[in-house]
């Protein structure tokens, strides 16, 4: 069903920057302090869902929005780790993990001269959390004290955000301990907004969405022309450490089913300087633009979850057997012509610090071992695979079914449901007891964002734990990690959680997406991509 939306949210999403990578020869060095200032760029963009921080949920809007706004922290484009080049110069997490204090950069102003102080952040988060703002990204603020009351409509002030000892100190208080909460604050939704964004009654001023005023190194150069373009230019009053090199950037908006196709044609014609590449043209682009072709996996995982509440999926050996009987490489080659990356872990190979390759031992294709495990499980001869139809999953699910039949002799009934909400209702119902297809795109660059929302027992529907995974050891390790202040210790615990999950196989990771970009090699000195989002890191890009 919503193919356009699916396409936008997943296909063009998150990618790797580390450019010594598989293809071209570009080594992606940064513009660095020696980059030449000036010049302009024209690039491809999908239509943003909104340009106000509380309306921006996809990479189509975050690409311009992350230039217009400085969030509290930023994500390092090379490592996806949170760094202090945003609006905050420093931060402290309290010993009990329930409070984060940020010191804001003094003298920072919005593009209209208003000061970027604690009040600006309070204003922004309050607006986002308000029920009548209907913000699709408000859930990122979940965990802040008083958030629930705001969402229910019983409050219009957010209890957990306040000024610290002066206007340049901003404090966030949480309902329960989460030592990692500060990692979220690199997301666009944590950006501040000026007074002009809200009306006197506290509701959103819609004109702000058309011509937003931010605190980042670039400002709007004219209002947003829906479905046509977003133009930004350098903000001369910016006092941050990463002011950017280019003078202006024009984001040309392409929409519809053939958006990438058209954009790529425009790139070939020389009317835009950089474009994403449609999957069907990966091979051609790699050949024709060897110097500037950047292909990477995305941090969007497609997986099959096992409904663990009833047989056969409540048997761990059965789940392991299924996973080992699927030849992911063959599916990627035969069905996707290499346009996907077989999954060998839950945590994606890009966009998250702490990924470990090949940790999923049950993701290895091994028919003999699979048969052994199946015998041990004494499993049934058939079960159901459900998926949302009309979203191009038919062929690869059929391939999985064929492999299971061939390798294990198991028959599977493939059930397609549409539209998507009906599919979700179906897999939640008691009538369904098999494997279901789902996808997950990360919200923040942390392993916890793959563990807690997908597999913690508290995340069962209406959350995303459709597998109904409920493992006490897993839960406690995840929670302990959330309360661990030391980053290295926390990472170890999170990786331990991933290990538990991969041992129990409540979800069977299938593959990650692939995305590719091309850019005008003759024009740009460098063209780094953000690790966390796959978007070009525009502040680092300079012309030759």
């Amino acid at each position: 069903m919503q193919r356009k939306r699916l396409f936008q949210v997943f296909a063009a999403a998150l990618a790797l920057s580390l450019v010594a990578a598989a293809c071209g020869g570009d080594d992606g060095d940064t513009g660095g302090p020696d980059g030449k200032a000036g010049g302009s760029a024209v690039t491809y963009l999908g239509e943003p869902d909104g340009l106000s921080p509380h309306l921006c949920g996809t990479t189509s809007c975050s690409e311009p929005a992350n230039r217009i706004y400085d969030s509290l922290l930023e994500y390092d484009w090379k490592t996806a780790e949170p760094v202090k080049t945003g609006a905050a110069t420093d931060y402290q997490v309290s010993a009990d993990g329930k409070m984060v204090t940020f010191q804001l950069r003094k003298g920072a102003t919005f593009h209209n001269g208003e000061p970027v102080n604690a009040e600006a952040f309070i204003r922004s988060y309050t607006l986002t959390a308000r029920k009548d703002s209907t913000s699709p990204v408000a859930f990122h603020l979940d965990g802040i004290k008083g958030f629930a009351a705001m969402q229910e409509g019983t409050a219009t002030t957010l209890a957990g955000v306040r000024q610290g000892k002066d206007e340049y100190e901003f404090v966030i208080e949480l309902e329960s301990a989460n030592a990692e909460f500060f990692i979220r604050t690199g997301h666009t939704v944590f950006s501040p907004i000026p007074k002009v964004a809200v009306k006197a009654d506290g509701t959103f001023n819609p004109a702000f969405n058309e011509n937003p005023v931010g605190n980042g190194p670039y400002m709007m150069d004219g209002p947003w022309k829906h479905d046509v373009s977003v133009k930004i230019k350098k903000f001369e009053g910016y006092n941050g450490s990463v002011p950017g090199f280019l003078d202006s950037i024009e984001f040309k908006i392409f929409g519809g089913e053939t958006a990438l196709n058209t954009a790529f044609l425009e790139f070939q014609g020389g009317t835009i300087d950089s474009s994403a590449v449609p999957a069907d043209s990966f091979v051609q682009a790699e050949k024709d633009y060897a110097d500037s072709y950047l292909e990477q996996p995305t941090s969007v995982l497609t997986y099959l979850f096992a409904k663990m509440t009833a047989p056969p999926m409540n048997n761990v050996d059965f789940r392991r057997a299924i996973s080992m009987a699927i030849d992911r490489d063959e599916i990627v080659t035969a069905v996707f012509q290499g346009k996907k990356v077989p999954a060998k872990s839950i945590v994606p190979p890009v966009g998250v610090p702490g990924h470990r390759p090949d940790v999923c031992k049950y993701c290895v294709f091994n028919v003999d071992q699979a048969k052994e495990l199946l015998a041990k499980a004494g499993g049934p001869k058939s079960f159901e695979i459900a998926f949302n139809s009309g979203a191009d999953h038919e062929s690869w699910i059929a391939a999985v079914a064929a492999q299971l039949k061939k390798n294990l002799g198991i028959d599977t009934k493939q059930v397609g449901k549409t539209p998507f909400p009906d599919y979700l209702k179906y897999v939640e119902s008691d009538a369904f007891q098999g494997l279901g297809r789902l996808g997950w795109a990360q919200d923040f660059p942390t392993i916890d964002n793959w563990m807690f929302p997908l597999l913690h027992s508290k995340s069962k529907p209406p959350g995303s734990n459709y597998a109904q995974f409920s493992n006490a050891e897993f839960d406690s390790v995840v929670e302990k990690a959330q309360q661990t202040l030391d980053a290295k210790e926390r990472l170890k615990l999170q990786q331990q959680a991933e290990d538990i999950a991969l041992d129990q196989m409540p979800i069977i990771p299938m593959f990650y997406g692939k995305s590719a970009r091309v850019y005008n090699f003759a024009k740009f000195a460098t063209f780094p991509l953000e690790l966390q989002s796959g978007n070009p890191a525009w502040e680092e890009i300079s012309i030759k």
């Binding site: 919503q2 939306r5 699709p136 408000a138 929409g255 044609l265 998507f420 909400p421």
Partner: protein
């Protein structure tokens, strides 16, 4: 004549109301969750769903929602777009000129190519030009608009140094409408061409044409001033109906050529379950259709003095 026009204008209202009702019911019955549509495959937080339902009154029964919509419509309020976060009227105002220009460009090609080639092939029946036109029209009719548009884009890319035609978008001013206009008008022009040819051939057999010739008038005058005026009537009828094709074909053309027009916005609105946009644009298109057909009917009277209205 004036009474006729006035009566036709009054007929607009029941037609609009009827169509609006049908559309409203259809949108209501169609499966699909506008809340989920705003979030793609992301799980919908219950608080968000509640907030959207409250904001757009989605939990009210259909007749209530219908009457609320009519009430707003009576105050010329077309509502807010849930996918674009701005007023539907603003969106329509922005996009009407674009689709209008595209429609004009398309119509230009339909008339120039269609009527022109039909005229030529009728006058030079069974000649090489007639054969060429026949083959050309069959080819154009067989290619889906979508495919034709994609082919034209590649053509633009390959001939960039010669013609410098834009591949997509409206950045090159009026030149941007050439390829999309051609794509839009191409299929219709094929039909018009055949229609014109047949109609003119028939008219050329008529008695009054023989009379004109025997009076000694030049052939060109006979054809253009006498026969063609009558041969145009079926063509004009077809063109009036074809406005619909131009507008709906515009969806595909606008999509491929990345032109922000009404058609594409309507299609996106349907996909996003943005009912306000769908209803608003549909009403507008319906009005255009009604006016266009009225104009066509008036044109009859102009073309053929025998047709007058009581």
């Amino acid at each position: 004549m004036n009474r006729y026009i006035a009566r036709r204008l009054l007929q607009f209202f029941p037609v609009l109301l009827g169509a609006l009702t049908l559309l409203f019911v259809a949108l209501f019955i169609l499966p699909g969750d506008p809340v989920q549509a705003l979030l793609g495959e992301r799980p919908v937080p219950p608080a968000f769903r509640e907030a959207i339902i409250e904001k757009y009154g989605l939990d009210k029964p259909m007749p209530v929602q219908y009457l609320r919509y009519l009430n707003r419509l009576a105050h010329f309020d077309l509502g807010d777009s849930s996918s674009q976060h701005r007023e539907v009227w603003t969106i329509i105002k922005e996009r009407v000129p674009v689709t209008a220009r595209l429609g004009l460009a398309g119509s230009f090609f339909v008339i120039a190519l269609g009527v022109g080639s039909g005229l030529i092939s009728a006058v030079r029946r069974y000649s090489w030009s007639d054969a060429a036109v026949t083959v050309g029209t069959i080819v154009l009719v067989s290619i889906p608009v979508f495919v034709l548009a994609l082919m034209l884009q590649i053509f633009a890319l390959k001939t960039k140094s010669i013609f410098d035609l834009p591949i997509s978008g409206l950045n090159a001013g009026l030149k941007s409408y050439i390829l999309p206009g051609f794509a839009l008008g191409a299929v219709s022009s094929a039909y018009v061409s055949r229609l014109q040819r047949t109609s003119l051939l028939e008219t050329l057999q008529a008695d009054y044409v023989r009379t004109a010739r025997s009076k000694g008038l030049r052939e060109r005058r006979v054809v253009l001033n006498h026969a063609w005026r009558n041969a145009l009537i079926p063509v004009v009828t077809y063109l009036g109906l074809d406005i619909g094709t131009l507008l709906t074909g515009a969806v595909l053309t606008e999509s491929v050529f990345n032109i922000p027009g009404l058609g594409r916005t309507l299609a996106f609105g349907v996909a996003a379950k943005d009912n306000q946009v769908v209803l608003g644009i549909s009403i507008f298109i319906l009005l255009v259709y009604l006016v266009a057909n009225l104009v066509v009917d008036i044109l009859y009277a102009v073309l053929d003095p025998r047709i007058r209205y009581q």
